[in-house]
Amino acid sequence: MSTRHILLGLLASGPSHGYDLKRRHDERFPQARPLAYGQAYTTLQRLVRDGLAEIEGTDSDGGPERTMYRATDDGTRELARWAGEIAPPAPFVTNEIFAKVVVSILSGGDPAAYLRAQRTAHMERMRELTVVKSASGADLATVLSADFALNHLDADLRWMTTTAARLTTLTAEVDTA
């Protein structure tokens, strides 16, 4: 995911400083990994270097001085291009779970036990997300982002169930290859 473009998007509503951008990011994308302040700061500097954002000025607001940033015209154009561009639908199948199953077979481990443990962890996470989304007062952004994760975890789970049922065949295939 492109942090550059997300920060550009947050700047689209008006000039803002690094800390404020971090706060708004965490608010808008509730179930995403929180943005580190250092990352926000370095990303903003790169945007300025590439001519997509510029420094608006400083604002002290009674506290320490903060640098205000705003998007340039190039930045706005780049944002529009990125937002309209499709995300490549799974260009490479790089799945850690699948890799672990295969490695487990190769090294004489217990892939079935691994899949069971993974399933338990997945279910645990799904329960957490369900609690988050069905809490009274949860806003729609929270519900939708939790749903996104839930659906992906559910897809993983279904894949694991099918794989667990076909482990014998897979083991034979991997061992002979």
Partner: protein, 232 residues
Amino acid sequence: MSMGHNTAGPLLAGRALVKAHGRTEALRGASVELRAGEILAVTGASGSGKSTLVHCLSGIVRPDAGSVTYAGERLEELPEKRLSELRRTEFGVVFQFGQLIPELTALDNVALPLMLAGTGRAEARAAAGEWLERFGVRGQAESRPGELSGGQAQRAALARALVTGPRVVFADEPTGALDSLASEQVMSALVHTAREAGTAVLLITHDAQVAAYADREVQLRDGAVASLEVTA
């Protein structure tokens, strides 16, 4: 509730349950426990014995072997009349579909368990109306089940299962015939109400997203419990 039982132990427990339908053994020694107020998901592939387990636990069928204990009572020793009464007053059941009487309005369907318990019609209908309100289907009170959408019918069915204030609700694939949005509405209605009222729920599903509403999951495989996971 006046039922004097040990609150530390399970409210409902099935032990080493065996049940065959003809030559196929649906349950082969499944054991499961349900604590008061908890939501337990029973998952497993189709044909793994989920429905039969619920039928045994709710006293709809008697197991061939094993025992079911509810609040200190051994269900297999009770006469059919008492089992009926238990299901009417202490338990609530929700199936995938078909539990509403097609000729009765949604309101009368929900009022029915109260009328069976001896409540007057007007009072029963008033209480039923409140439950429909809670599940967001008050507007469909005078509709027949055939005129309701799948999600509305299931919410009316939930109202009917909960109207008597049961201690356990058995839900057998309650969202099996619904799309994901309707399924979400039904599940959150069920979970919220159950938590509020302290009702235990035994939820049968093959859908992990539905199972995720539960506190705990029991997986059935070939009529026995495959894994028992407990979360704090």
